[in-house]
Each structure stands twice: as C-alpha cells, then as structure tokens.
Assembly symmetry: C2
Homo-oligomer: 146 residues x 2
C-alpha cells in the first residue's frame, strides 16, 4: 500500500464521523506489510465520550498487540498531545499525517523521539477540517481542551 | 478533601481492577472543590482493550466537560506518556500521584508545562504494583508497550 492509499482509509473514517454528526478526524493502524489492523474516528459527539479521538479509536480497534514498533499510525490531522503520547508510549514506529495546517499537535516531538513522521498536506483533509471548524468552533475547541 | 482522601478513591479503583483479574492501576478526576467527576481503572484485561488506562477511564467517566484547568487527576501510578499527553492536551491543572518508584512516565514533563504535580509515595500503591509486576510481568510489559 502507498502512503496515499493508507491515508484514504483514514479519510474514509473521517467522512463516516462527519456523516454521523461528529468531528471529522479519522485514523488507521497498519502493519508493516500494509495489513489494516484497525481503523476508527473521533466519537466525542456520537458516543458522548471525550476519550475517543481518531487515533485512540483505531488503536482500540486493532486490539491487543504484542509490540507496535513496526506499525504505522495514519491520521487525517496532526495528532494532539493525547494521541502523540499514545504513539510514544506504545513505541509506534511511524506516523503518517494527512495535514498539519489546521492544527499541529506533538508530531515534531515524536520525530525527536525517533518516530518516522510524514506529513502529506492533503487538500481533502485540510478542507474537511477547516469547513468543520468554521461551522462548529465550539465542538472543535472542546475536543482539544480549549 | 485531602490529597490522601482523593488518593483513596484511586486506590479503591485499582483494587477493583485487581479483583477483576486486571492490572491494578486506578484513577479519579476531581473538581477543584473536591467533587468526584469520574473514577476508573485499567481495563486492558477485562475489556480486552489496550486503550483504557486508569486515567483515560476516569476521564471518560467524567463525561464531556467544558474545561479541565481547575480539575485534579489522581492516579495510583505515575502517568505513562499516553496519559500524560491526555493531561497536557486537556489542560488538566493538577496531577496527584500515588507513587513513581515502580514506573515513571511523563510527570516531570507535565510539571515543566505548568501542571501542578504531587507525588505522595504511598506504600499501598508501591506494594500493589510491585506484587502485580512480580506475578504478571507479561501483562505489565504489554501495558506499557515494552
């Protein structure tokens, strides 16, 4: 799978979230061979659960794994500190990011700590997120603790 | 409520987790006036869910809050990077820690970023965690991604 194809899975998740009335951020965890281990999206609104960010949802969907070093976390938006902490604690080897123009979390910090970070600057991701923030600034602020 | 009384709530959660066959780490989120907003414990084993650490469970149990600056996260063990990231992203104002002898996560990093960090060095917490790690080193390694 190419990085673009992996990002497509996360974008599809973000769109599902948007269709459900939620915050459009999606993520997926892949094995080194491109196997999809788990995918998910932000569920703050849908589940009334502030703890489910896209990355934590994908991580949960992947179930209990014995080691994450060879896995790749793909997300439509630069991971916030919560999700960056997840990546660091579990030694996820690589993070592939749709965009970081709208929001920049801890991805530089992850790179400093040895995580292979790639930012694709994907227009679909930028547009979806910026449209959402323009429409629901309240939900967005809530989701990043501001 | 005193710090010791707040820690008692987290210790009780850790004991619940242990009785369920899980990893004995408990946490609770309090308001500035001592109101308990939510409590929880690690559920990796019980729910087969690697995303539920004690702190994320307590955060979830507290529901959607509009701002965390005045809240206090109490946990039996120094928060790992995942849970430290949660504290930083949501601007939780204070973290009260049972012990950090067994494991030290990101609490110094949180203190550098303005979080009021207190370590109580509570013997009950040390003993519960060290006994557990001696009995189930496999589960403990899995829970911290090692």
């Amino acid at each position: 799978m190419t990085p673009g194809q992996m990002l497509d899975v996360a974008v599809e998740e973000a769109r599902k979230g948007l269709a459900e009335g939620g915050i459009p951020i999606g993520a997926a965890l892949f094995g080194s061979d491109g196997t999809l281990l788990g995918a998910g999206h932000n569920r703050r609104v849908q589940n009334d659960d502030p703890s489910v960010h896209a990355e934590t949802d994908a991580f949960r969907a992947a179930g209990r794994q014995r080691g994450y070093r060879s896995t790749i976390m793909v997300t439509t938006l630069s991971p916030c500190w919560y999700c960056s902490g997840l990546v660091r604690q579990f030694n996820i080897g690589a993070v592939l990011i749709g965009e970081s123009r709208t929001f920049t979390g801890g991805h530089d910090w992850l790179a400093e700590h040895g995580v292979a970070v790639t930012v694709l600057d994907d227009e679909r991701c930028v547009e979806m997120m910026q449209n959402f923030i323009a429409e629901r600034p309240d939900l967005w602020a809530e989701d990043i603790g501001e």
